[in-house]
Amino acid sequence: MAKIRLDNIAHTYTPKADNPLFALKQMSLSWDDGGRYALLGPSGCGKTTMLNIMSGLITPSHGKVMFDDRDVTGLITEERNIAQVFQFPVIYGTMTVYENLAFPLKCRQFPEDQIDKKVKEVSEILNLQDFLKNRAKGLTADQKQLISLGRGLVREDVAAILMDEPLTVIDPDLKFRLRRKLKEINAKYKTTLIYVTHDQNEAMTFADNIMVMNQGELVQTGSPKELFEKPQTTFVGYFIGSPAMNIYECSASSSNEITVGSNTFKVQSNIDNTQSKGLKLGIRSEYITVENSSGENTIEADVNEVEDFGNYKLITASQGSLKVIAKVKRELDVPSEKIFLKFPSQHCCIYENDKLI
């Protein structure tokens, strides 16, 4: 096990071009030993490139890959002690579950008694102890995926287990079981787990720490709560949470007061460059409140639509070209025409050139 560090890494698939296009723009980041991480972003954001750099399938065009103090940049996959779980379970169908789990240790010529001990231990954690003699191909999809994972767990020298969309082919009811298992395994073995996905809910459900990527850049690293409450960029505000964050262009009238259309809002940010043309206000639908009358940070708008989802309602309201989506409790009686919506100052996020101030 090791701390994995990418040191000033960048990658281009066309290093000889005059103006090379970078699939990964320069960044430095690290994964602590034993952590539960997700690498999240839309397709084409660079997450697979990053995964391949960690596992050694790609040598980065710039920067170094460090496992603790060891520079592994030039090492091939086999020399890196990385285990991988893919979208589709990779198992040896004609072998028994026992033989599947023992395989990585057999290849490394471990003594039989050590193999036996390790396989039994891991199979109990994975609830596969009753299936050890069964052929692997007869198992359910989630059990097969556990075998793929188990082959990483039997090796004590594994620096990290990389999982690329591991729940894609798993039925919804089984997903639940497998998710719980993954968390338990991480707690027991303290193996670093890195989960790659485009699905925000999967990432947030699995990881303590999420690295959000977009267009080759690392845009934010944080806990699910941090990503939700303080998105560092407008992209994260849009991408995390449902509905997406409400985002408006604005101008600053002082360091803590902004104007959106004809409305003025007090905010708790400290805007240094009040002349900036690239200012935006972001506020989550969940934090907007419905008021009885006008007041501070409150706008008057026309109700366009109220959608009743049973457990909550979504209000779509507008003031000229300004559109507001507010999420409110189901009990609330929503006025049918005019509505007063308050943007509490502590929940107003101010962005300059799409980065949080």
């Binding site: 639940f176 998710r179 809910n201 947030m204 709560k225 849009y238 959608e307 009743d308």
Partner: protein
């Protein structure tokens, strides 16, 4: 003129795929066929489209025996889960294909196609190749093709299920606006879904299907407020309504040895005995005065956290209105909004609901 299904059954093996289904669809209305995977949704849609013949029963449309009409003459359009398009044709050619096949007047084709492209937001993409499109765009093409056909019956089989939730969120809103058009066109629109929130948002009539049987049909509000059985309550809520065995005895509502309440006012008239007790995940909440529960796993969905919990044999899911990570086996204190309790007979039939007078 309405579409009616009379006692439709299909039993290819020992089990029914469709079990004695009778339904009536009115023109100009939107219906959501809501059921879990393998409940018979796709089979029912295929039967209406003519891609699958039932073993018994009849279908009438506009006063004619629909089953005797071959599929190509039924004036039905269907959109599938998978993005089905002609890969060798560009976007425009894909959309006009059925109209050309019908040998429609070229100027009329031009008009219908450009209208459909405008409706689904594909203007500017006319000459793009299908492979160059994202999943969301491909599904727009399939939808535009079915809209351009101006079919009297439009069948959509989980059209958004293969899209990332962020795309789904956007497209669902757009689809809903499109469907407003069914009223004017007097088409019948049937939308199959596994997602209760989708069904609520579409806000048409909901038809609940399970194991090939229709369990309930009614407006979204009716089905949400008064599900006829515990099964319907599970299927029409996400997370599924918590249903557990319980007892009313000595003026107490007993869920297990630990979790017990004084009998709430609205249940005082219920006789003592065993029931299935239902409560929605949103009606459980964190409360320092509450009962001890252990976390099985926490799942984050959009802006909410679903806590899967147990107190000895009593299992439930609670929705927490924030994004927060809980550890496996973490202890939390949970309370119940007793005004929102549902009672079902042991056989599943609804006995008492918060909305029943």
């Amino acid at each position: 003129m309405s579409l009616s299904l009379n006692n439709i059954s299909l039993k290819p093996t020992d089990e029914y795929h469709l079990n004695d289904i009778s339904l009536n669809f009115e023109p100009g209305k939107l219906y959501t066929l809501l059921g879990r995977t393998l409940s018979g949704k796709t089979t029912l849609l295929k039967t209406i489209a003519g891609l699958q013949a039932p073993d018994s029963g009849s279908i009438n449309f506009e006063g004619k025996d629909f089953l005797s009409i071959p599929v190509w003459n039924r004036n039905v359009a269907m959109v599938y889960q998978q993005f089905i398009n002609y890969p060798h044709l560009n976007v425009k050619e894909n959309i006009e294909f059925p109209l050309k096949h019908r040998k429609m007047d070229p100027s009329l084709i031009e008009k219908e196609v450009s209208e459909a492209m405008k409706q689904v937001g594909l203007v500017g993409f006319e000459s793009r190749k299908i492979q160059e499109l994202s999943g969301g765009q491909q599904q727009r093409v399939a939808l535009a093709r079915s809209l351009a056909k101006k079919a009297k019956i439009l069948l959509l089989d989980e059209p958004l299920v293969n899209l990332d939730y962020k795309l789904r969120e956007g497209l669902r809103g757009e689809f809903k606006k499109l469907f407003v058009g069914v009223e004017t066109s007097q088409s019948i629109l049937i939308y199959a879904s596994t997602d209760p929130l989708e069904a609520m948002q579409l806000n048409g009539d909901i038809i609940v299907i399970d194991e090939g049987k229709i369990l309930q049909s009614g407006t979204a509000k009716e089905v949400f407020e008064n599900p006829v059985s515990s099964k319907v309550a599970e299927i029409t809520n996400d997370p599924a309504m918590n249903i557990n065995q319980g007892t009313i005895e000595d003026n107490k509502l007993i869920l297990n040895n630990h979790v017990q309440f004084p009998l709430p006012e609205q249940l005082k008239s219920m006789s003592s005995g065993k029931y299935l007790i239902g409560i929605r995940a949103t009606d459980l909440y964190l409360d320092n005065q509450g009962f001890d529960f252990d976390v099985d796993i926490s799942e984050i969905s959009g802006s909410e956290t679903f806590l899967h919990l147990h107190n000895s044999d009593f299992k439930c899911v609670a929705t927490i209105e924030e994004v927060k990570t809980y550890e496996v086996n973490e202890r939390v204190k949970i309370n119940f909004d007793l005004s929102m309790i549902y009672l079902f007979k042991e056989s599943g039939e609804l006995q008492n609901s918060p909305y029943k007078n």
